[in-house]
Amino acid sequence: MSATFVGMPAFPAAARAATGDAQLRHNLRKATHTIRDRRRAVVEELDDWPRLRAAGRAVKDRVLRHLDHYLERLEEAVTAAGGRVHWAADAAEANAIVTGLVRATGEREVVKVKSMATQEIELNEALAAAGITAYETDLAELIVQLGDDRPSHILVPAIHRNRAEIREIFRRTMSEWGVPAPDDLTDDPAALAEAARRHLREKFLSAKVAVSGANFAVAETGSLVVLESEGNGRMCLTLPRTLISVVGIEKIVPTWADLEVFLQLLPRSSTGERMNPYTSVWSGVIPGDGPQEFHLVLLDNGRSATLADTVGRQALRCIRCSACLNICPVYERAGGHAYGSVYPGPIGAILTPQLRGTTTELDASLPYASSLCGACYEVCPVAIDIPEVLVHLRERVASGGGHTAERAAMAAAGWVLNDDRRLGLAQRAAGRMRGLVPRRLPGPGAAWTDTRDVPAIPAESFRDWWATRERGGGPDARGPADGRGRTEGGR
């Protein structure tokens, strides 16, 4: 069973460990740069990309503004098409609903389509507790599951693994779950894919129940949409008798015309493809064709609370493309596990603290897991201003418990900076101490001086130099104020 994120250390500690893992950094750098370059190429070739992006944002905002209306519309349409709709307020409720539905079929095994919502609620663990085995069928999710590992990327959950590691995982564990890997398995990608294909084929042909998520739910016709690259999802969506889909309430698009916008935005942003390879759409049940029983579990799990926050709600526009992960210099170096959530990277840093709250040390550290460089906002296909939400969540964390020393320091700095005379006095005091600053600072300052020199403090601030000059004083009024050495001014 896959490991969970409970009990993870706060982001800085986990990220520090990851930066020391040379193999991990190499894997991540190679993978993220490849996808980011591909995305850039297929986005730049469209001259109407900014308009598509604006349209995507507008559609999602409209849905969020009238979510109650569209949810009821969706429920009506799904019901009319022969499906059943269930409402889950949180993870526990969703897990109980799905477990009950699987139990009712009498089956002990389910096949799964790659799904973030079911990862979020830790459905596999809940099913296991009820004696039901869930088989992940997405290749990367399979690698994660077989390796008793955790996903580290939204689109490419096993991005932290290279092919040698994957071969090892397949050889060691495939036999415990079903068809074993061949004895002579190499780390050739085609051989690895073939081993996975043989292993999964047995599951597809025997499974009676499938569990999926959905990328989109079209309210007007009650249609669910899954985009994937392997065809494994389609196997699960068409072969079993019963299909259960767990879908976040924000996944709605009103009409097929709205869907068209996202079928352009998503593939280009996520895999860097012009068109998605396997797009499956189903509306309820069709007698004699595909699953004969369909259940839609609509999941809240913190989304309504997020919607209530006027700044933070934009995170609900997310279509899980991963473009922000692939461009993020922090994600590239920290890796996905450091974020302690199925949603890593910049979007995770604003989504997780909103869905889960900021009561744990880990969740409270996530809004700070960014240099606010803004690259994520620039690539986001639905224009989520991630830096804005990060800063907003920092306010929430800073005004909560803890942070006593920082709050005191910030208040003191604010007091000095809110008066030019106080600032001038502080600068002069610092100038007098300039010879005394050690190369390695003690305490929290060490976080800077472990890897970076500190700037030398100049003898005279700019404002003092200016004042002297205004008084017409000083023989060197136009030149450097103090005839300092070359490293003066801090460099």
Partner: protein, 246 residues
């Protein structure tokens, strides 16, 4: 033209040479520089770390200090970005602060914007006979949208050889308090930036923000990489008579 200088607290306290270079450059071009003495700090550190109220107080001070100025030069991309991009978020819509911010923010510019857009000059008569590479800082790039303005200015500098920096648009890892809150990741980002800088063979890495340069320069110095960092103002102020000291 009469130009109000918002020196920024970091330049004022740690990098007065940049301010002196700005004054020398603008006066050489025939403009008048004024320095409103009541100025202190834009509040970026407080705002970005989650201390909105303190940031708001500093924003009030800023707009009060500069309200009457036609153009305000902030020789720091991130401070200019703070005023233009974040001040409107700090002020409640309809408030007096919001009104004051809306009026003032568009007149707050970075040095390259002042020269290229306002003063309409790219050849400032500078001389700097060195190999230079340019790092476009994140806020200059993504908040101010400076584009190639700094490079256009650098290309006109006599004697200067401008060389391309690999991975130029990637953040150096400074990020204000990020540099200490997430020191390991910050340092890893700086190490990559420093390596790219050293690979160019440039003597100088130039940018429009001394905070980023303090971070990159501190890393380069610790590594004894032999690459110096200089603010754009210091290169543009440099002449044969008064060369910038390296």
């Amino acid at each position: 033209m009469r130009i109000a200088l918002f020196i920024t607290c970091v330049n004022d306290t740690l990098f007065p040479r940049t301010g002196q270079a700005v004054v020398r450059l603008l006066e050489r071009l025939g403009h008048e520089v004024v320095f409103p003495a009541a100025q202190t700090c834009c509040g970026q550190m407080h705002y970005n770390t989650g201390y909105r109220r303190e940031a708001q107080r500093l924003a009030v001070r800023f707009v009060r200090t500069f309200a009457d100025c036609d153009v305000v030069l902030a020789p720091s991309g991130s401070c200019a970005g703070m005023v233009r991009d974040n001040y409107p978020r700090l002020a409640d819509p309809g408030s007096r602060l919001h009104e004051a911010v809306s009026a003032l923010a568009p007149r707050v510019v970075d040095l390259s914007e002042l020269l290229v857009d306002v003063l309409e000059v790219t050849d400032v008569g500078a001389y700097f006979p060195h190999r230079v590479t340019y790092h476009p800082t994140c806020h200059g790039l993504r908040l101010l949208r400076l584009g190639d303005r700094p490079q256009r200015l650098l290309r006109e500098v006599r004697g200067l050889e401008l060389v391309e920096l690999a991975g130029a648009e990637e953040c150096c890892g400074f990020g204000g308090t990020f540099a200490v809150k997430n020191a390991a990741v910050s340092a890893a980002m700086a190490a990559d930036k420093a390596r790219h800088a050293a690979d160019t063979g440039a003597e100088v890495l130039c940018a429009v923000d001394n905070s980023c340069l303090m971070h990159i320069g501190g890393t380069l110095d610790r590594q004894r990489a032999g690459v110096r960092v200089l603010h754009l103002a210091e290169i543009l102020a440099s002449t044969e008579e008064e060369p910038a000291s390296l």
